[in-house]
Symmetry: C2
Subunit: 154 residues, 2 copies
Amino acid sequence: MMRTEQDAGDGLSKQRLRAWLRILRATRLIESELRDKLRVGHDSTLPRFDVLATLARYPDGLRMSEVSSHLKVSNGNVTGIVERLVSEGLSERVSVEGDRRAMRVRLTEAGKTRFAAMAAEHEAWVDAILADFDADELDTLISLLSRVKERAKP
Amino acid sequence: MMRTEQDAGDGLSKQRLRAWLRILRATRLIESELRDKLRVGHDSTLPRFDVLATLARYPDGLRMSEVSSHLKVSNGNVTGIVERLVSEGLSERVSVEGDRRAMRVRLTEAGKTRFAAMAAEHEAWVDAILADFDADELDTLISLLSRVKERAKP
DNA sequence: CGCGTAAATTTCAAGCCTAAAGTTTTAGGC
DNA sequence: GCCTAAAACTTTAGGCTTGAAATTTACGCG
C-alpha cells in the first residue's frame, strides 16, 4: 500500500509546522487590525491597551512584576510602557508599604474612563473580526489552543 | 426560561474575545520558546529566520516588497533585517535587470547551508511544542484559523 | 550584628516594527 | 517629448521588546 504524505512519520511534523504558521498568521492579521484601530480611534497602541486591560482587572493595582508575568513580557518592557501611561495620566505608581523595592501600579480615574471607552470598542472589533465563528467553533478553538502550554526550560 | 451567559447576545462576543486572547497567548508562548532556542543554538533571531525561510523557498530570490508582503510586515522593516543578513553574509542583493528601482534578495551559499541547519531544528522544536496534537486536531486548528481573513480597510 | 544571596525594579544596548516622509525610477497620457 | 502619478525602496522618528547588567532593598544565617 502506498505511503502518502499524510500518514508518513514526518507528515505529522510538517503538519504541526503548518499549524504553527497558521496561528502566527492569524495573530499578525488580528493584531494589525487592532493596532490600526487603536491608533486611529484612540491615539494609542496595543501594548498600552494590554497593560490597561490588566490593570483594569485589579482595582488595587499590581506590582510591576505581576504585570509582566500576566502579559508574558519582560520586566524592562513593562517599565517603559507604564512610564508612558503615567505621563499620559492614565496610571500611577504607589510605593508598597513594607517593601521599598516594589512598586504598585494602578489606573487613575482618567485611566479607568479612558479604558472603558477603549474596551467597549475593542470587544466590538474582535467580535467583527471573528464574526463568522459560531459558539461551537470558538469552543473548539479555545480548548485546542489552551493545550499549548509553557514548557520547562532545559 | 432563564437566559444564560452562553446564549446571551453578547456572550458570543465575549467568547470571541476569549478566543482571540487564547490565540495571542499561544503565539507568545511558542514565539518565546523558538526565540530562545534560535538565540542559544544559532545566535540568531526569529525575524531573521522568517526572512531566511521565505528566501529559501525562492531560489531566484525575491523583491524586497515581495518579502514584506509574504511576511505581512512593513517595507522598512525588511530593509533592516536584510541589511543584517547581508552583513552576516547569509543573503545578497542583486539589482533587477530593467528596473533600477527594484532589488532582488537571495540566499548566498553560506545562507543556504546555515538555513538548512536552522530549519531542521526549527521543525523539531515546533514538533515538540505541539507534540500532543494529533493529525485530526491539527486539521481542525488549521482549517479554523485559515478562516481568519484580512479585512478590507474602511 | 554583619554578610552573602535573592528579589524587585530600572537601565542599557541592540534589534525589531510601524507609519510617514523622502528618493529615485518607471509608466501613461497629452 | 513633457508632466504627473505611481511604484520600489530607504530613511526617520518613535515606540516596543528582549536579555543582561546594575541598583537598591530584604532576608536568612552564622
